[in-house]
Symmetry: C2
Subunit: 219 residues, 2 copies
């Protein structure tokens, strides 16, 4: 016979989760709410999506949703904030790594193009700033403007280093931002091209233009 | 003394307008409603604008508005329809005039860029398709798609004639459409550049790209 174990008896397991696990679970669930909502916004449009639709997709009740988000506007804001925040963070990484301005610009355009094909990124473009109340609209405008300024700086640096043809960096940033943002409007997850292919081809068109090389066309 | 006039006495003027004049006046007023609404949508956003705001700007009552339009959605639709209809008509004119595909493409891009800076054109881009009920959304999508197809055809013809570098016409039409459409998002009537200057510079950037000529950059 084995001797009685000398280990102290384990404390009985608490039916409540530890505080940090609870916070983690809550954040996971909040992310699931945002993701389901973004999918629905992109499929049906923001106005055509109700909180009931979001609750239904997650198999929960509307009151459950209110535990994680304040309103549909709040959800949209969080989706857009997440996407713009990701863009800003990745652009910071590219900038810190340094290198030629043209290569940094291509890397940042790639970040931008890939994020606008993701669920949160598609919200930025499809929904615009219109449905948000003014203070939130200002917040998002500031985030967007920060990204735009980075593109302008990179174009200006590219002109300095001789890799980018002399142009108005503000106009150039608007035009390339427009071409890339628009991807979020026409991109379909079930389309022919992968996000990476779209990013590569789109960036090549923006960089090189469409006219045959060896003859710049004046308008 | 002059003899009494032999002209028959003029019929007394009716205090009611003739039917065709009435129809004309009604159309003028309807256009004024649409224009005031488009201005407000562009200033404040579609959702932030009420029918009361539109009535106030025109110094009329809301019931008066209902004589010309059915709803705010109906107004938006009419604004967007007008803009897209103008684009389509002007593109038809350019196509009929013929000439090199690259020159036709530049002319069509100019039409597009100029219309998206106008009140009705800015509605197309700022507001998107989201707030409209499905049948109207389909109608607008068809109008937009017709314009997009024309751009694709012109790019394909440009490749044939050697003025446009070999590329995927669909991707090219999306990228140039995006860059030009985006003008409607950032254009401000009180900005530094006129719509014509924006159109010229924007089109030059899209045609020639941004990298220094003599070295195509691969991504």
């Amino acid at each position: 016979m084995s001797p009685p174990s000398s280990r102290p008896a384990a404390a009985p397991e608490s039916p409540w989760l530890a505080a940090d696990t609870r916070a983690q679970q809550r954040e996971l669930k909040r992310q699931a709410v945002l993701h389901a909502a973004a999918q629905l916004f992109n499929e049906r449009g923001f106005h055509a999506t109700s909180l009931d639709d979001i609750a239904e997709r997650l198999h929960v009740t509307k009151p459950t949703l209110y535990y994680y988000v304040k309103s549909k506007d709040d959800i949209l804001l969080e989706c857009v904030r997440t996407a713009l925040g990701m863009m800003r963070d990745e652009i910071v990484v590219v900038r810190r790594a340094g290198g030629r301005a043209i290569d940094q610009l291509v890397a940042c355009m790639r970040v931008y193009a890939l994020i606008v094909t993701q669920e949160f990124g598609r919200c930025v473009i499809r929904i615009g700033e219109d449905p948000l109340p003014p203070p939130l609209r200002r917040e998002l405008r500031a985030l967007k403007s920060g990204i735009d300024q980075e593109f302008r700086r990179l174009v200006a640096e590219g002109i300095q280093e001789g890799s980018i043809a002399p142009c108005d960096p503000k106009m150039a940033a608007f035009m390339l931002g427009g071409a890339l943002s628009w991807i979020g409007r026409w991109y379909r997850p079930d389309g022919e091209l992968s996000p990476e292919q779209i990013a590569d081809r789109g960036i090549a068109l923006v960089l090189n233009g469409i006219v045959t090389r060896r003859r710049a066309t004046k308008t």
